[in-house]
């Protein structure tokens, strides 16, 4: 008995010492990436990506990987402009802006050596639309004529107007002109898929490194689920000379504090950080801010009698000091909103929308807010403002923002609201079913054009959670949608936004940005404001 116990104790202490020694060993030999002949970049993802199926992928983390290992007709350059990728040139578009003809480049192959053909696009798009695929982003492919009908089970694949006229030519016709369509073709949902391979893999398609074909700058060589993904340079890539990195190791880590520590200890080269770490890094060459096409606003449900009153809605909006809110609550490069469409959103005419539309949002003005509130209350025949519930996500940002706004309303208007922080799923449900009074809502762009933010307030939109109903506004959105002249379309949207600013169905409080730490020796990493967060095609280590 004593002997065996001594033996166990011995084994255990050996184990312990061995672990400690092993720790010291590899801990001290860790070095940075610079100076190595092999170009290796170390990235992170916040979560394990879903299957890398371009039809079904819907999370940013999946797009991050897809953008490196797959490619569509176009890629976005550092200004967000589409440049030909698998396409040989920019598309030929008919005058009504609806029919696109695209020629494919020569020498484009899948990682199995077979050529990428126009049929791979036709197949992938129709597969996405097929209701059986249950693709979240099918609605984008449904912009193609016949797509909506097929997606909703009322039509068939044959009626969808996308066709590979030969191996090298793809043509498709849109239902309405979509001025940003060329750029949108860089979005993963429009990437090609090889039918034979997809069908052979069945349910397992794109769930592992060897269950996917690649045509992008990199190949996924190893997918260690939950832990890391390893990308290596794709030697069959048509533009391989521009690809400098030999390997990209993508580790999965979700805690921002951990990411900052990993960055500081040279274990990773890029880290997304949040408010707590920003001050420590601001002003250093590592600190990079990337504005997002992402807005946060307070929805005021018009089913609630006092919120039906325009003056009261305005009072609530004017009483929020957005500058302080953005600085205190977010503190990550986020900007105080000046309208309903975030900075950086490009109009159909390829001009920055915010610059064209100007500052439409009334400035923070507690005195005027107070007057408006008093007038509004008189109009609805109330002597005091009822205690309303203010609902939002129970995330750190969500709670802090709600508490800040609650304080502002108390201080500037003397009114009380009750903050109710609930899980994200429940918040979505409350919003969609209009079961709320005030609600903090977030929206990220699906595509880079103001429509993605403005059609939310169309009376028929399922995201019109505040039940805004303005026929003039609806008209303008409708006209913009059907308009093929980009300048006119933008003009309609500018006018539409002015209506929002006047009637204030929602009160914008933040235009989000992401703060990153980027190793100064890592060059040419492109950061994007929506969709995929980064593109490493031409990145290199100096």
């Amino acid at each position: 008995m004593a002997k065996s116990k001594r033996l166990i104790a011995g084994i255990l202490s050996t184990l312990l010492i061995a672990t400690l020694l092993a720790g010291c060993g590899s801990g001290t030999t860790t070095t940075g990436t610079s100076g190595n002949a092999k170009q290796v970049l170390k990235m992170t993802l916040l979560a394990e990506p879903q299957a890398l199926d371009t039809s079904k992928a819907s999370a940013a983390v999946s797009f991050d990987i897809l953008t490196q290992v797959e490619e569509g007709l176009y890629r976005l350059d550092k200004n967000g402009q589409p440049v030909p990728a698998l396409a040989a040139a920019l598309p030929e578009i008919t005058n009504d802006g609806k029919t696109y003809t695209i020629k494919l480049r020569d020498n484009i192959t899948w990682s199995d050596g077979s050529p990428v053909t126009a049929k791979d696009f036709e197949y992938a798009w129709k597969r996405t639309l097929d209701p059986k695929t249950k693709a979240d982003y099918a609605f984008m492919v449904a912009w193609i004529k016949g797509g909506e009908a097929f997606m909703t089970g009322k039509g068939s694949a044959d009626q969808v107007e996308v066709k590979a006229t030969d191996d090298k030519t793809l043509t498709f016709t849109l239902e309405n002109p979509v001025p940003f369509m060329t750029a949108q073709l860089a979005f993963p949902v429009f990437f090609p898929q090889k039918q034979e391979f997809v069908e052979k893999q069945g349910d397992k398609y794109a769930t592992d490194a060897d269950k996917l074909l690649y045509n992008g700058p990199f190949i996924l060589s190893k997918w260690d689920h939950e832990q890391s993904l390893t990308l290596v340079k794709n030697d069959k890539y048509w533009d391989k000379d521009k690809v400098k990195l030999d390997e990209v190791v993508v580790q999965i880590a979700s805690n921002n504090n951990t990411l900052a520590n990993l960055y500081q200890s040279n274990a990773i080269d890029v880290a997304r950080i949040t408010r707590d770490q920003v001050d420590q890094w601001k002003g250093k060459p590592d600190y990079v801010v990337q504005p997002q096409l992402y807005i946060t606003y307070v929805e005021m449900n018009e089913n609630v009698p006092v919120l039906k009153n325009e003056k009261i809605r305005k009072a609530l909006a004017l009483a929020i000091d957005r500058e302080s809110l953005v600085d205190i609550v977010f503190h990550d490069g986020s900007k105080s909103p000046t309208g309903f469409v975030p900075f950086g959103t490009m109009g159909a005419d390829n001009k920055e929308f915010r610059a064209a539309a100007g500052d439409v949002l009334a400035k923070y003005d507690p005195a005027q807010a107070k007057t408006l509130l008093a007038d509004g209350l008189k109009e609805v025949g109330l002597s005091s403002f009822p205690n309303l519930k203010f609902t939002g996500d129970d995330t750190e940002d969500g709670k802090k923002a709600m508490e800040f706004i609650q304080g502002q309303w108390k201080q500037n208007l003397g009114i009380d609201v009750t903050v109710e922080a609930i899980p994200h799923k429940l918040r979505i449900d409350r919003g969609q079913s209009h079961q709320f009074e005030l609600l903090l809502f977030n929206w990220g762009a699906d595509y880079n054009e103001p429509m993605t933010f403005l059609d939310l307030h169309e009376s028929t939109s399922s995201f019109n959670e505040s039940l805004f109903n303005d026929p003039e506004y609806d008209q303008l959105i409708k006209k913009a949608r059907a308009e093929s002249d980009p300048a006119k379309r933008t003009q309609y949207l500018i006018e539409a936004e002015k209506i929002l600013a006047a009637k204030m169905p929602v009160a914008p409080v933040n235009f989000r940005a992401y703060s990153y730490l980027v190793r100064p020796s890592a060059k040419n990493i492109l950061f994007f404001p929506y969709g995929s967060e980064w593109d490493l095609k031409e990145a290199f280590i100096q």
């Binding site: 008995m1 004593a2 116990k5 001594r6 104790a9 255990l12 202490s13 184990l15 312990l16 672990t19 400690l20 092993a22 720790g23 010291c24 590899s26 801990g27 001290t28 860790t30 979560a47 394990e48 879903q50 299957a51 199926d53 079904k56 819907s58 209701p131 059986k132 249950k134 979240d136 982003y137 099918a138 609605f139 997606m151 909703t152 089970g153 349910d203 397992k204 398609y205 769930t207 260690d224 689920h225 939950e226 832990q227 580790q251 880590a253 979700s254 805690n255 951990t258 520590n261 990993l262 200890s265 274990a267 899980p423 994200h424 799923k425 429940l426 979505i428 449900d429 969609q432 995201f463």
Partner: protein, 309 residues
């Protein structure tokens, strides 16, 4: 003994059934639906999804099907990861959690025992106070505070060990240490008390008066008897470690199962919530079951007392 084990086993099955049922009912009363990006789905897509997951059936049918599937070891497919079976999520994430757990138990036992023994042998001397101070600190500092501190100083500032991630053996030390800190403290205190009891007992005095050497008294007589009560805390230690991985895994980016516990609830991932609850409760029940049996072996009084009821 056989009857004792059988009775324990039946309790276990009943508990298990109750956990499955209660979780099932609670989960299906969660507001909101389980589909990722559900706002963007068309009615047709949604209907097909509901059919695929059997959500179009009445709740009683769903419950029946679920029980049948669980008994066959099929926990369904995750909603957030529609191509991944829940059993696969567990299969690929649990090894890291389990490894971390085992390593932290090893740390707890080895360090805890050493501290406890030292404290007892140097009773009321500075060694004792130091050891017990460490123990008190261990009990008072939660892992979400200790983790980042260790990470920052040992991982970043001094660069002795990797700050996080799960690449090699060195990456295991900090998370295992963080996770075991509390149980190190528990074990140390337990061992100290138990040693002190034994040291002052008559048979140790007898051993000494026989003229045995100090080492021989400690190793052959004191430790052997003192360690028995400590074995009984191993069960609770294992439980603490299993449930404690959640925070530690986040801090050190360990590719384990803990994170899904929170994530799944947030995304209403019905199958994953159920799967994890079943898996973890089974694990806990087995640990408790084994501990109970171990008690029964070590101390027949427990078995007899319960047997007579």
């Amino acid at each position: 003994m056989g009857r004792f084990i059988l009775r324990r086993f039946i309790y276990m099955v009943i508990t298990f059934w109750m956990i499955v049922t209660v979780t099932f009912v609670l989960m299906h009363n969660l507001p909101g639906d389980p589909f990722a990006n559900s706002e963007k789905l068309t009615t047709q897509q949604r209907a097909l999804l509901e059919k695929q997951y059997g959500l179009d059936q009445p709740l009683s049918v769903q419950y029946k099907n679920y029980l049948i599937n669980v008994l066959q070891g099929d926990l369904g497919v995750s909603f957030a990861y529609p191509t991944t079976k829940v059993t696969d999520v567990i299969k690929r994430s649990f090894p890291a959690s389990a490894e971390l757990g085992i390593e932290s138990i090893v740390f707890s036992v080895v360090i805890g025992l050493l501290l406890g023994i030292t404290a007892a042998l140097k009773h009321n001397k500075s060694w004792d106070y130091t050891a017990m101070f460490i123990a008190i600190v261990g009990i008072s500092i939660p892992s979400f505070v200790l983790g980042p501190i260790l990470q920052y100083f040992i991982g970043v500032k001094w660069g002795i060990l990797p700050a996080a991630l799960w690449d090699g053996p060195a990456n295991r030390v900090l998370p295992a240490l963080t996770l075991s800190f509390m149980t190190i403290a528990l074990t140390a205190r337990m061992m100290r008390t138990s040693m002190l009891d034994v040291i002052h007992s008559d048979y140790i005095k007898t051993a000494r008066s026989k003229g045995l050497s100090q080492t021989s008294v400690i190793i052959k007589h004191t430790l052997r008897n003192a360690i028995l009560p400590v074995i009984t805390v191993l069960g609770p230690i294992a439980v603490n470690v299993i449930t404690g991985t959640l925070v530690v895994e986040q801090i050190f980016a360990v590719p384990g199962l803990g994170k899904y516990f929170v994530q799944a609830v947030y995304s209403n991932d019905y199958t994953l919530i159920m799967g994890l609850t079943i898996f973890y409760s089974l694990l806990l029940m087995i640990v408790i079951f084994l501990t109970d049996i171990a008690y029964g072996f070590i101390d027949p009084r427990i078995r007899l007392a319960k047997g007579r009821k």
